[in-house]
Amino acid sequence: MSKSKFLSDTLAVTINEFRVLRRNRTAILLSLVVIPFFFTAALGVGSGGAGTSYSVTAKIPIAFIDDDQTVASGRVYAILARSGDFHQLIQGYREDNAIATLGTGKIYAVIVIPKGFQDRLLNDQVGHITVYVDDSVADLGSAIQGNLLKNLQDFNPRLEVQPVRVGVSSPIEIVARGVKFSGFDVGLTVILGLVIIFATFYEIAGGISRESEEGTYARLAVSPIGLGAIMAGKTFYDLGLNAVRALIVCALAVYGYGARPNTDLLTIVGLSLLMALLTMGFGFIISALGLGVRAVIIVEFFLVLFLFAFSGFIIDRELLTGFSKTISYSLPWAYGIEVIRRAVLIGQPLWTMANQLMFVVVSTVVFYGIAYFVLKISRERLVI
């Protein structure tokens, strides 16, 4: 096949794909609006934008029981009330009543300063504070504990004005280095990866399965257009969609939620397209198996969940052990996500991650090769 025929066939398939998309309003809505917007907005409203900070415990009603009734316990209350982490400290409860109220939704925790708190501190002993917590609220206990320790780590019962230095109570200070960024920026890398993988797989594997069910794929397969041109045409079409999707996610994250990526837009879009190509390769393999649309969607759901657990989306690969770790290190998506994260969050140049990028590229080529081989066999069967 001549190069120009391959290119013109590829272009024809690409144009056809866009034409089909243009005629399907639901597909446009899902592909370019629902998926990128839902995912990014859910992250933004759930955990706050990059420029905003909020304390998990700030607006949660918490009873404060002072059994010590000393200057020290009074200062603890004052520090907490002023801290910004505890805006709804409620005094006046009796300890047993407060604990009995937990679980009703009126208060979610009870901070108890026990009798003898000041005496212990003045005798250079550690003062204990007990917190009863409604643990039906996920992770509330650790959030309250963290904020109490943060605000009281330099507490001195003898001083009315508490020291302002934070985190240096130990004689050996830990000087933390490394690029800092907001939780939203971290979430952005997760969302970008999820949106790309989720939508791409559906568009390629689901698209071909749907065409197979409708009978249009068989017609396309027996047309003079080569298999390579069909795959290339669908690839270019989906790359175009993914570029738009990556831009939508980035625009929403940057302008809507104040994200500050440490790399340029071109790199982000380029890496997104690399992930899309990898997923497309896998999508072609799945579509070559001749599964129905429903089966493809089920495979997609489990693929995304699988990647969620093993590809470093929410768990660092270093934390996995045994077989989980082996799975994680054999998944090419994990390397792609690592590259996206390092580039977007810490601005690491791409050339320093050549090994990871090479792994992704080689996996993509292998996926495309397998898919081409299997699709070719099924096409020959169709022709025969």
């Binding site: 597909a27 917190v131 009863y132 330099d154 130990s170 749907r210 429903r294 969940l305 390092r342």
Partner: protein
């Protein structure tokens, strides 16, 4: 009324019969919760492990006997694995930047001398902050190693300047009212809620859109059975299937050691209402979205935001203000809240009455809308 009940029952039996004849859907109904929960068990185990092997490099620029003690503590930390000792600060930073290590501990020159003479010094910790949790664990490993070193030093009288040192003036003791460990099973009750939502969405795909695609839905509607009975029948079959899924999940909970403190009947009641609400919403959506694959993909697209916003993973109370407002406007949040409180706190009906009411009212509002829309688009 008698006719409504009889017709609904007939549709329920038909739905269950169809499911039993479709091995793929039947297997999915069973496998779906098992696979989903398996993934989250992996996640829970990763976060709850007592030891890790996070790679760390160390640059001991001091080389004193004091820094050796710190090195000894670092190498025995259960959280990290010191996989290389480097000679310079730059090499340590390079190891982190290249991804070879997640953290680098740099002990500066004069570390031991400063500690012994002034009682105050520092170490540098360079971490790869592009990781989510590993940098925090490296920091925790370094802090605990420093603490262990100081404890040893003060016990042996090794450093006079450090005697009487106290790490923190105040200790906070957390007592969860359920009595379970603070870190135990944070995801499981939320997963029951999510599986109920996803399962019900899948049921609606099976129940309406696929029937439309096969052309059997118009035939069903043209029978003397009232459309309301059709919907009630489909809903009843979902409630039965949901009960099977809930039972399966409760068995998994029991096997994983999760203690259910509340009445199991309330769990079934709550999951049934979550399923009915989801189904009502699905009926409304399916009156517009006709393709089963589009509806399924929409369902999956909704899943991930719902993990964040419906209280499945994080409770609504701990979300940012906008997220909290949005979460409280979703009836699923009330369902997940009720499940969590039944399982963890063992609360009775009075405590979950509001949650139940919200789910019930939401379904009652949506169901007539779905019926109306279905009639219009028939």
């Amino acid at each position: 009324m008698k006719e409504l009940v009889r017709d609904s029952f007939a549709v329920t039996v038909k739905e269950l019969k169809e499911l039993s004849r479709d091995p793929v859907s039947l297997a999915l109904t069973i496998m779906f919760p098992i696979l989903l929960i398996s993934i989250f068990v992996v996640i829970s185990q990763a976060f709850g492990a007592s030891s890790y092997n996070i790679p760390v490099v160390v640059a001991d620029l001091d080389g004193s006997s004091v820094s050796k003690v710190l090195l000894d503590k670092l190498t025995t930390s259960p959280l990290i694995r010191v996989n290389q000792f480097v000679q310079t600060d730059e090499q340590a930073v390079q190891a982190v930047q290249s991804g070879m290590a997640t953290g680098a501990v740099i002990i500066p020159k004069g570390f031991g001398q400063a500690l012994l003479s002034s009682g105050h010094t520092y170490v540098i910790l360079q971490t790869d902050n592009s990781k989510l949790t590993a940098p925090l664990l490296v920091n925790a490993a370094l802090s605990s190693s420093i603490q262990a070193m100081l404890d040893e030093a003060t016990q042996t009288g090794y450093t006079g300047a450090l005697s009487g040192f106290k790490a923190a003036p105040v200790d906070v003791i957390i007592r969860p009212i359920s009595g379970r460990p603070p870190s135990g099973d944070p995801f499981l009750p939320g997963m029951l809620g999510m599986i109920t939502i996803l399962g019900a969405f899948d049921d609606i795909v099976n129940a309406i859109t696929r029937e439309r695609e096969r052309g059997t839905f118009p035939r069903l509607v043209l029978t003397p059975i009232n459309i309301f009975s059709v919907y009630m029948g489909k809903m009843s079959s979902t409630v039965v299937i949901n009960a099977v899924r809930t039972t399966l999940m409760l068995i998994i909970f029991a096997l994983s050691g999760l203690v259910i403190r509340g009445n199991i009947i309330f769990i079934y009641l709550t999951t049934s209402l979550i399923a009915v609400f989801t189904l009502s919403l699905g009926l409304v959506i399916s009156s517009r979205v006709r393709s089963s694959s589009t509806l399924t993909i929409l369902e999956i697209a909704l899943t991930f935001p719902l993990f964040q916003l419906s209280g499945a993973v994080s409770s609504a109370e701990t979300l940012a203000p906008e997220g909290r407002a949005l979460a409280y406007s979703l009836p699923w949040t009330y369902g997940n809240d009720a499940i969590r409180r039944i399982i963890y706190l063992g609360v009775g009906f009075n405590a979950i009455a509001v949650d139940i009411l919200v789910l019930l009212l939401s379904s009652l509002v949506l169901l007539p809308i779905a019926t109306l829309l279905a009639k219009r688009t028939m």
